[in-house]
Symmetry: none
Subunit: 221 residues, 4 copies
DNA sequence: CATGAATGAGTATTCATTCAT
DNA sequence: CATGAATGAATACTCATTCAT
C-alpha cells in the first residue's frame, strides 16, 4: 500500500475511534436525560457531527449502544472494585474499600450515574449495577464473602441475602449521596460500611435493643 | 328513578367495576412483562374482552393506568405498613414488622412485584415503592426513626442515609426472596431486620472485626 | 286507550318536539363555533340534558342535523324572501326588499349566520345560502329576473351571471355588515341594491367612466 | 466536496424538489375533492410513490401542506393582480384587468380553483382568496379604490362595502364561470366589470328605474 | 323512547432502520 | 466509510354509531 493509503488508514482509524467515542458520549447523556425508552437515535446523533446512517456503522441498534455503555461502566467498575478488594487485608477494609470505590466512581462520572439512574429495571435481575460484567463482579464479591465466612471472620449467614443487601445499601446510599449539595463519597462509604459491618458482626447476637420497650411516637397516617 | 332503573344502574355499576378491574389486571401484567415504555395500550386491551375505545372510557391515557396501578399498590402498602408500625412497641418490632409486612405484601401479590420490578427508576428518587403515596409513607417512617433517635433507642446517625438504607435493603432482599423456589417472607424479614438492627445498634461502637486481620482470598478477576 | 295513555302520548309528543328543538339549538351553536368537521356529536349532546344515544332517535347522523339546520334556515329564508318579492311593485323594490329581508334575517339570527359562515364550501355549488331549499329560492329569483328582462325593465344580460352576482354581493355585504359594531341591515340593503340597480341599469351603456383617464396611484409592493 | 459529491447533491436537490412538488400536487387534488377536514394524510401520500413517513420530511403536518398550497396560490395571484393593476390607466381598466386576471388564473389552474372552492370558510373573514398573502392583496386594492375616490373618479361611497362587493362578485361569477361547458374568462370579466363600473358610476344618481312601475310576475312559491 | 357504555375503524404522527449515492 | 432522505410498521387516541338495559 502507498504512503498515502497508510495515512488514510491512520486517519480513518483515528476517526473511527473518535466517532465511536462521540456517539457513546452523546448516548450517555441522552439516555441519562430521557431514559432508554424516551431517547431516540436521532436525539443521539443530533449531539454529534455525524449523520443518521453513520450511527449504524458503529452500532447495530439503539439497544446496542445502550449495552455498550453499560458494559463500559460495568467493566471499569469491576476492575476498580477488584483492585480495591485486593488491596484490603481485613474484611472491614474489604467492605469499606468496595463502597468507597463504588461511590467515588459515580461521583466522578455523574453522567454514568444518571444513565443507570434513569434506566433501572432494564436488564433483569439484580441490576444494581448494569450489564453482564456486573453479574460477574457480584459473583466475585460473593466468593470473597463466602471465603470470609469459611475463615470465621464473618458469622455464617445467608450469603445471597447478604450479598443482595450489600448491593441494596450501595445503591440506596448512592442515590442519597448524589442528591446532596456537597457530594462526599468518603462519608457515604463510612456510613455504609459501618452499618454493614456492625450488622454482620452483631447479626446473631440477639439484638440488645430487644428490651428497649420504648413506645414509639406513632405519627398520624 | 323506577325500580327498573335502579336495577339497570346497579347492573351497569357492576359492569363498570368489572371492566375497570379487568383493565387494571391486564395492565398490571403487561407493564410487568414489558415495562411501561415497551407496553402498548393495545397490548393491554388485547388481554381483555374489551375494545380499544373502551380503554379510554376508564382511563385517560396509558400513563393514567400506570399511575392508578401504582397508587393502588402504594395505598395498600402504606396502610399495611402504617398498621404494622402502630402495632410495634419496640424499635426492633417496628423494623421487623415493617419488613415482614413489605415482603408479605409482594409475596401475596407477585403481579404487583413484577410491575414495580420492571419499572424501577420511573418516578424519581427513592422509588423503592411507587407513586406519591409512597413518598408520604417513607416520610412517616423517617419521622418514627427520628423519634426513636430522640428517645435514645437508636444511636444518632445520618437519618437520611439510614432511611435510604432501609429501603435499599428492603428492595434488594425482596428481589432475592422473589427469586427463590420457596418464598419465605418471614425468613427474609428476620434476615433484614437483624442485619439492620445489629447495624444500627453496633454502629458507633468501633466495629470489633477491625482486628480480624484475615487475608482475604482474592479470587481472580 | 286510557286517559293515562293519552296524557302520556301528549307528554311524549311534547317531549319529542322539545328534544328535537334542543338538539337543533345546540347543534346550531356547536357547528357555528367549531364548524362541521370540528364538531362532534358529543359536543352537541353535551349542551343538552340528553344522552348520546338519544341523539340518534331524532337524527340519523351528524350530517343529518346539519342538513336539518340548513333546511330550516333555507325554508324560513325562502318564505320571507318570497313574501318580500310579492310585496314589490317595481324591480328596484324587488331587489331592495330581497336584500333587506336577507340581511335582516341574519341580523336577527346571528347563530344561523355564524353557522353558515363557518361552513361555507360545504354543500356543493352556489352555496350562498345553504341546502336544497335554497336552490329553489334562487331559481325563483332567477325567474323573476328573467320576467323583468322580458318586460324590458331590465336590460338583457347574462341571467346566470347576474343571479350569481346578486348572491355574491349579498353574501359579501352580509359578512361586512355582521362585522360592524352597529349592525344596520337597512343601510346594507340600501348599498347593495343601489349598487346592483345602477349596475344593471347602466350595464349596456358603455360605461361613462371610460374617458376618466385618471392615472391610478399605484401603491407599493 | 468532490465532483461526485456535487453530483450527488444536485441529484438529491432535484429529488427533493420533485418529491415536494409531488406532495403538493397530490394535496391540491385531495383537498379539492374532499376538503381539508375530509382529507387524510394517507389520501395524499397514496397518490404519490412515497411512503407515509416521507410526507413528514417535507411538511410538518396536514395543516402545513394546506397552508403551503394557499400561500402558493395567494402569492401567485397577488403578484399577477398587482401587475394587472399597475398596467391600468383608468379605473375601468383597473377593475376589468383585475377581474380578468383573477378569472384567468383559476381557469388556468382548475385544481387550485377546486381547492379553495372546497375550503371556503377556512381562514376567517373575506376569504375570497386564501391565506395571509391575500389579506395584503385585498388591502392593496382597497387603497387603490380609496385613491380613486379621492380623485373623484369614483363617487364617495362605503369603501368597505364596495370592496366586499368586488370580492363577492368576483367569487360568485367565478363559480358560475367554472361550471360552464366553455370557460371564457374574458366574457366573465367583461360582465363583472361592467356591472361594477355601472353600479359605481350610477350609484348616487337616484336610479332611473325607480319609475318603471312594472308589476313583477310573482311566480308561485 | 332514554340511556350511556361499548365498539373498532380511522387519524396524525413518530422513529428505528435501510440504502442509494 | 459518510450521508441523510426514504421507508412503513407501529402508537396513542378519537368519535360516529350501536345496542343492551
Amino acid at each position: 500500500m502507498s504512503v498515502q493509503n497508510q495515512l488514510q488508514t491512520g486517519r480513518r482509524a483515528f476517526n473511527r475511534a473518535d466517532n465511536r467515542a462521540a456517539i457513546l458520549q452523546a448516548a450517555r447523556q441522552v439516555f441519562a436525560e430521557l431514559g432508554f425508552g424516551g431517547a431516540t437515535v436521532r436525539d443521539i446523533i443530533r449531539r454529534t457531527n455525524l449523520a443518521t446512517g453513520t450511527f449504524y456503522n458503529y452500532f447495530d441498534s439503539k439497544e446496542s449502544v445502550f449495552s455498550a455503555l453499560n458494559d463500559e461502566i460495568g467493566t471499569e467498575l469491576r476492575a476498580k472494585l477488584s483492585e480495591a478488594r485486593h488491596a484490603a487485608s481485613t474484611f472491614e477494609q474489604f467492605v469499606e474499600n468496595s463502597f468507597y470505590t463504588y461511590f467515588t466512581y459515580y461521583a466522578d462520572n455523574p453522567d454514568s450515574y444518571w444513565l443507570i439512574r434513569s434506566n433501572r429495571g432494564r436488564g433483569g435481575h439484580n441490576s444494581v449495577m448494569p450489564g453482564p460484567q456486573v453479574q460477574a463482579g457480584l459473583e466475585e464479591m460473593r466468593k470473597d464473602i463466602e471465603a470470609a465466612m469459611a475463615e470465621g471472620v464473618v458469622p455464617q449467614l445467608d450469603v445471597d441475602y447478604l450479598n443482595a443487601s450489600l448491593g441494596g445499601v450501595a445503591f440506596a446510599v448512592l442515590d442519597e449521596m448524589m442528591e446532596r449539595k456537597s457530594i462526599d463519597p468518603q462519608a457515604a462509604a463510612r456510613f455504609a460500611s459501618r452499618l454493614i459491618m456492625a450488622g454482620v458482626d452483631g447479626f446473631d447476637g440477639q439484638s440488645g435493643a430487644a428490651d428497649a420497650s420504648v413506645t414509639l411516637a406513632a405519627n398520624g397516617s
